[in-house]
């Protein structure tokens, strides 16, 4: 809106304040402003309105829920998603029918995967990705390499352990047969969250809680000595700890020294 033909419009005044007018046009408007009290007064009114709105906006900022939980949730989803192949589709070339077909296939596939996951629930050397995608907390490398890195994580509260067994449909687990294990160990920034816990058996073939403990210990050392990036360690252990074991110990099979390796306490002892 123009006040008068020879004054600047509100849009021009706001545009100058926002540094959205550049070059020759900006110089022309600034020149006008330097000579025109009327426009400068109007600009001050608009700036006051912006300041009032900013106060509302700042108040709203104080009501934002904390970020940590949602960030950990996103990371867990990303880790899961990264295990699936990236699909490149140009939306504009994709007809509605094709979208419908793909959606139907995806729903069907998701249903099948869900059904198979439910059938497979129970203890296994690797966690069920749907039940235990892994979750991290906010921690720096310095925090994790201090002696207080595990404070508050052990022992795992009985109620939480019981929920973990329940989610894996394991009834009456015998004490000492499982480690209720953090997928991403707290020493690597893992969170004390049920999505980061699973019942890892001590007797499940060659890959057991003993090897997982050895890997956790080794990775912690590699991170703290700067040989492996913390983010890489978290990703590797969360996506497939057995593959991570093979990678970091440079072996296809568990090492003999690790057959009875134990750091974390068995459940129920």
């Amino acid at each position: 809106m123009r006040y008068q033909d020879d004054h600047l419009s509100d849009a021009q005044l706001v545009g100058i304040a926002d540094w959205e007018v550049i070059g020759r046009e900006a110089r022309r408007l600034e020149e006008h402003l330097s000579a025109c009290w009327h426009c400068r007064a109007r600009r001050a009114e608009l700036e006051r309105t912006i300041a009032d709105y900013v106060r509302l906006h700042d108040d709203a900022s104080q009501k934002m829920p904390p970020m940590e939980e949602s960030r950990a949730r996103l990371l867990a989803k990303l880790i899961q998603l990264s295990a699936t192949p990236a699909v490149s589709v140009s939306p504009r070339r994709f007809g509605k029918f094709a979208y419908g077909s793909v959606a139907a296939c995806l729903i069907l596939a998701a249903g099948v995967v869900l059904y198979l996951n439910v059938l497979k629930a129970g203890a296994a050397p690797v966690p069920n990705g749907r039940l235990t995608p892994g979750a991290t907390r906010i921690a720096t490398k310095e925090d994790l390499c201090s002696s207080q890195a595990f404070e508050g994580f052990y022992p795992i509260p009985a109620r939480m352990a019981s929920s973990v067994f329940k989610s894996y449909r394991i009834q009456n687990p015998s004490p000492g047969s499982y480690e209720v294990d953090y997928l991403i160990t707290p020493a690597l920034g893992g969170a004390g969250d049920i999505r980061n816990l699973w019942p890892q058996p001590y007797a499940s073939g060659e890959w057991t809680a003993h090897q997982k403990d050895a890997l956790e210990d080794h990775l912690h050392e590699l991170v703290c000595t700067g040989q492996v990036d913390l983010a890489v360690a978290q990703r590797d252990i969360a996506s497939n700890w057995i593959a991570a074991y093979r990678k970091y110990f440079k072996t296809a099979q568990p090492l003999p020294d690790h057959m009875a390796f134990s750091v974390d306490p068995p459940w129920g002892n």
């Binding site: 809106m1 959205e20 934002m64 970020m67 996103l74 990303l78 983010a231 990703r235």
Partner: protein
């Protein structure tokens, strides 16, 4: 010795999330979504961003991209909810921070002004309101134009018109 690899994409996305989560959540809530729905929309946006970058698509103007996708998903969610929350995000903007240094009269005057401003914002056409919210979140005019699919000149005109309307509220 193992050589640390580059930060994986997952962690880059988490960094971007840390940077944009609050502005985006404030924006989608202001569009009329309850905070819980807003959180879900924000999660969806960053999962989509992960796929976008994983497919090697352009990295230019990621802030604009995040708000554009967030805007579209939030509008769909709002339609699914079948209800229009108080337009400027009752849960978010209508939050009053009591400044301890003000006396009761000043509190009252401030509260009344605030109410008038909120009422005036609510009466704005939706695109103008979005323009205001996006500018307050630090988007440049070009980015706002992309989010709202309007021209650059349109953004400039709308912001000028909106602030002029709101400044008239201050006069009373």
């Amino acid at each position: 010795m193992l050589v640390p690899g580059p930060a994986p994409l997952e962690y880059e996305i988490v960094d971007l999330f840390t940077q944009f989560r609050n502005p985006l959540l404030r924006y989608v809530s202001a569009l009329g979504l309850p905070l819980a729905d807003g959180e879900e929309v924000v999660q969806e946006v960053f999962l989509a961003l992960f796929q976008h970058l994983r497919q090697g698509k352009p990295r230019t103007n990621l802030k604009g991209w995040v708000f554009r996708v967030g805007h579209n998903i939030a509008l769909k969610q709002r339609m699914r909810n079948g209800r229009h929350e108080k337009l400027h995000g009752a849960e978010v903007l209508a939050y009053e921070h009591l400044a301890p240094e003000l006396n009761p009269e000043e509190h009252l005057a401030g509260a009344m002004r605030r109410e008038r401003l909120l009422a005036a914002i609510e009466e704005l056409p939706e695109t103008e309101r979005c323009c205001l919210y996006l500018r307050a979140e630090g988007l440049r005019y070009r980015q706002i134009a992309e989010v709202l699919e309007i021209s650059l000149g349109g953004v400039s005109e709308m912001l000028g018109r909106t602030l002029a309307r709101l400044s008239r509220v201050e006069e009373y």
